[in-house]
Amino acid sequence: MTVVGLAVAGSLGAVLRYLVDRAVQARARSEFPYGTLVINVTGSLILGFLTGAALHHHLAADWLTVLGTGMIGAYTTFSTFSFDNFRLLTGDAAGTALTNMVLSVVAGLAAAAAGLALGGLV
């Protein structure tokens, strides 16, 4: 049952990522990967919230697995983040690559912290 839920949630998360990336990147006339940044930061906020809620027993563990591990895990992506950094570094945009790394991690950590705190409040 959890496996079916994970598969469905994972497919939804991946499609959502594709749609959000296209929508954001269409507005950003820049080689900076704004789409992935927006996806990863919003996903960190939501996963933090779900985890915080589960830690305070407001969310069942099965739901954290399906929504958190399944959907948000698939919505956010680390492989594209790594590949973008490689692409920027080898494309003589080391500054942009460094900005992407620092911004993604700092904003992602802040979003996760905010989510964890908010999840404990509900």
Binding site: A14, Y18, G43, I72, S79, S82, M101, A113
Partner: protein, 173 residues
Amino acid sequence: MTAPADGATPGPSSDAILRVVAIALGGALGTLARYAVDRAIVVTATGFPWATFTVNIAGSLLLGVIVTLVTERWPPTRYVRPFAAIGFCGGFTTFSTLMVESMYRTEHGAAGVAGLYLVASVVLGLGAAAAGVRLARLPRQRPPDRSVGIPDPDTLGTLDRPEPPRDLPGEPA
């Protein structure tokens, strides 16, 4: 999704629909694969998150291979990138889990583990993507045999005779 304004195709094109289906299928498989690794590797609440770390580094390597094969090595394909790159690699790897695991450890007295985990993930993820690209760019054939240009005296006598010319003189072409 809206139809192209040319009026030739009513509704979203079947190509656009199939791309989304490929992403959904790849995403489902990637998510299940990540879950399998999660179940196989035991991680304590404040220990080093080896499961996510393994998934993220392996997925970065795989994405480097796939993107390079699709864009540089293979003839144009329609659904390989949506299925394997956007779907599978994207669904297999996760950024949000890396962030929440790091923040949880920072808040529970394991900031050192979190820092190491973050730096190792970003640096080795970048290295894995680079390695994947290099791997996919390796020559398709096996590397040239160095002995070809310098005949080994021991085997000279056993070498096949050169092929006779195909168009023998006097025969009609």
